[in-house]
């Protein structure tokens, strides 16, 4: 069967849009379901047939979860041990601090590697092991060690491990940006008598600041959503948002989907905002700076 060229082109185009749209639905539907459930009144959380559109949409779940407001309706689903705002604060402090440290020391290391070769290529790849070896294999001795030095269940403890596990990303990603900076500027700075540290902080890092921001936001995604280490290294004093969410699983009522969804939406929104801001840099981040656009 002979098709004209324009017919064939139209067919290709249709197939492309069909496939892409199907996948877009697959990708978006669970996220839609989470958002929709967070607006559903309690009788629609797992009703049969499933309710696809909250009717009527309600803010009760958000009020109850985030404000802990007992006076708002459906108090029987309130869980007393929840401290979402405290967890929000913990998550914010832990994620931003560890990410900041990671990017700061990572970029300094990356500068050293790029310009002074303080780590050989083999060492650079060995650094990746910090990320590639699953953290579960060291977390038990780590928690004993932490309890011995008083870092268990503390923000500092989590900040240190997050710093360690994200360092490879920071070094590799910032190095890929530093490698793109021409050396002439640094040489000029040196001739003008700038100290080495001043060259780093006042010349090189400002030159790659958009790259540093991208690296920061990228690592923020990882530290914000980390689960395993937070689960084991924190108990009652410090909970991060992912752990807060998992408390609903153990709740006696079970299946408090609306509440769970309201909390989940709150955790996910910052992540999506950050991710969409740096969407052009995600490939570089996840591939340790090896794949660029």
């Amino acid at each position: 069967m002979a098709m004209t060229k324009s017919q064939r082109r139209r067919l290709t185009k249709t197939i492309r849009y069909a496939v892409l749209t199907v996948w877009a639905i697959i990708a978006a539907f669970p996220i839609y379901w989470m958002v929709a459930t967070s607006f559903k009144p309690d009788n629609q959380w797992f009703s049969w047939p499933p309710v696809y559109f909250p009717d009527p949409p309600t803010l009760d779940n958000y009020r109850n979860v985030w404000l802990g407001a007992q006076q708002y309706a459906v108090t029987q689903y309130a869980i007393s041990s929840q401290k979402p705002l405290a967890s929000l604060w913990n998550s914010t402090v832990i994620a931003t601090t560890s990410t900041f440290l990671s990017v700061l020391f990572g970029s300094i290391l990356a500068y050293g590697v790029s310009r002074y070769r303080i780590l050989s290529e083999a060492r650079m790849f060995q650094l990746l092991m910090l990320r590639m070896i699953p953290p579960i294999v060291v977390v038990a001795p780590l928690s004993l060690y932490y309890s011995a030095i008083g870092l268990l269940d503390s923000r500092t403890g989590l900040i240190i491990v997050y710093f360690l596990t994200t360092l490879p990303y920071a070094v590799w990603m910032t190095k890929s940006f530093i490698d793109e900076v021409p050396r002439e500027v640094e040489q000029a700075a040196e001739i003008l008598g700038a100290s080495r540290w001043r060259t780093v902080f006042e010349i090189v890092l400002p030159l790659i600041r958009s790259g540093l921001v991208a690296t920061f936001l990228f690592i923020l995604i990882l530290t914000w959503s980390e689960y395993l280490l937070a689960l084991i290294l924190t108990k009652t004093q410090v909970t991060t948002l992912p752990i807060e969410l998992s408390k609903y699983q153990g709740s006696t009522e079970g299946r408090v989907y609306g509440r769970q969804a309201a909390l989940a939406v709150g955790i996910t929104i910052p992540l999506m905002v950050v991710g969409l801001i740096i969407r052009k840099h995600l490939a570089r981040g996840f591939s340790f700076g090896m794949v660029r656009r």
Partner: protein
């Protein structure tokens, strides 16, 4: 590596007093750059690895006395782990989970990237929607899955209505299906990873060979297999290797959603280690198990690193070649 040393480094070769003091200064500067890393290794990593080694050879549980006078048992713990059929099954499950989800992510990601690498109307909108799953917290993925996959839930309902059959899979409670469900979730969650990597690869491979093949009259199929795929090999390997390693470590979804169940259907290595250590409180057995898994992972990672090093050289060469030619803005 495409890195030429600074002229300062070359000058150190001359043995004048000035150059010597300069060399000292550079050495001191290099050391101070490395200091935080060295400090972290000494203060955090070394004690942790030593503790783990200690527990692998000393039988201790929390019910016993203080940990430092636990009994030395030699290789008994390793023996008990290696002869534990549950451990073997967990290893197999981990490998099956990681391999299947890696391939799944890659196939879907590659298809989507291939359909999207040339500009078309709506491209950026699709791109944004496609990366959303990657930007959800893994625990959130687990709980959202729970909200959707119960027997009368929306997923079964949607499939039933679309296919006009009574579809009632027990995604979460059927032991034969649970690991598949976990792998499907992993695929949903991380296809965006393969997608963005493959898209970046497809948009940055040189155009000339493809154009040349088109002029010579090659079909799209042949261009794909004989020009694009070989050029993409570094990116493909990277996408596969990194995803496989992450999938081997996957814990939040399998744990939060299944806790290893139903039965032991989703008991992967991380889950089994977690249960041994934090539910049965067999710290020592957990440590020995961790040690074995760590060695296994180090072996896998060394192979991965070998592959990545080779492919990164190819990639760097490609980017250099590209950047020397006309700038391709995407």
């Amino acid at each position: 590596m495409a890195v030429a040393a600074l002229p300062t480094a070359e000058m150190t070769a001359r043995k004048t007093p000035l150059a010597a003091s300069r060399a000292r200064a550079i050495r001191r500067f290099k050391l101070s750059l490395l200091l935080p890393l060295i400090a972290l290794f000494l203060l955090v990593l070394t004690p942790v690895l030593l503790l783990q080694l200690y527990f692998s050879f000393h039988q201790w549980t929390v019910y016993l006395s203080t940990w430092w006078d636990a009994e030395y048992v030699g290789f008994d713990l390793f023996d008990s782990v290696l002869t534990d059929p549950r451990f073997g099954w967990a290893a197999l499950r981990s490998l099956a989970f990681a391999a299947s989800s890696t391939i799944g992510c890659f196939v879907f990601g590659f298809i989507l990237a291939y359909l999207m690498y040339k500009p078309f109307r709506g491209q950026s909108l699709y791109y944004i929607i496609f990366i959303l799953p990657m930007l959800t917290v893994p625990v959130v993925v687990a709980y959202t899955a729970e909200m959707m996959l119960y027997r009368n839930g929306p997923i079964n309902d949607a499939i039933s209505q679309l296919l006009n059959v009574d579809f009632q899979a027990s995604w979460l409670t059927n032991p034969h299906l649970a690991l598949t469900t976990a792998a499907l979730l992993e695929i949903w969650n991380w296809t965006p990873f393969s997608f963005i990597i493959m898209l970046a690869g497809l948009t940055s491979i040189p155009k000339e060979p493809i154009e040349a093949a088109e002029i010579l009259g090659a079909s799209k199929w042949r261009i794909f297999w004989e020009v694009q795929v070989p050029l993409l090999r570094p990116v493909i390997l990277l996408a596969l290797v990194l995803r496989f390693l992450e999938a081997m470590a996957e814990f939040p979804k399998t744990w939060a959603l299944f806790q290893g169940g139903p039965g032991s259907a989703t008991e992967t290595l991380p889950v089994y280690i977690f249960m041994t250590t934090w539910q049965y409180f067999e710290i020592s057995k957990g440590a020995a198990m961790s040690y074995i898994v760590m060695m296994l992972m180090i072996a896998i990672v060394l192979i991965a690193i070998h592959l990545l090093r080779r492919e990164r050289r190819a990639l760097d060469a490609m980017y250099q070649w590209r950047d020397k030619g006309e700038a391709v803005e995407v």
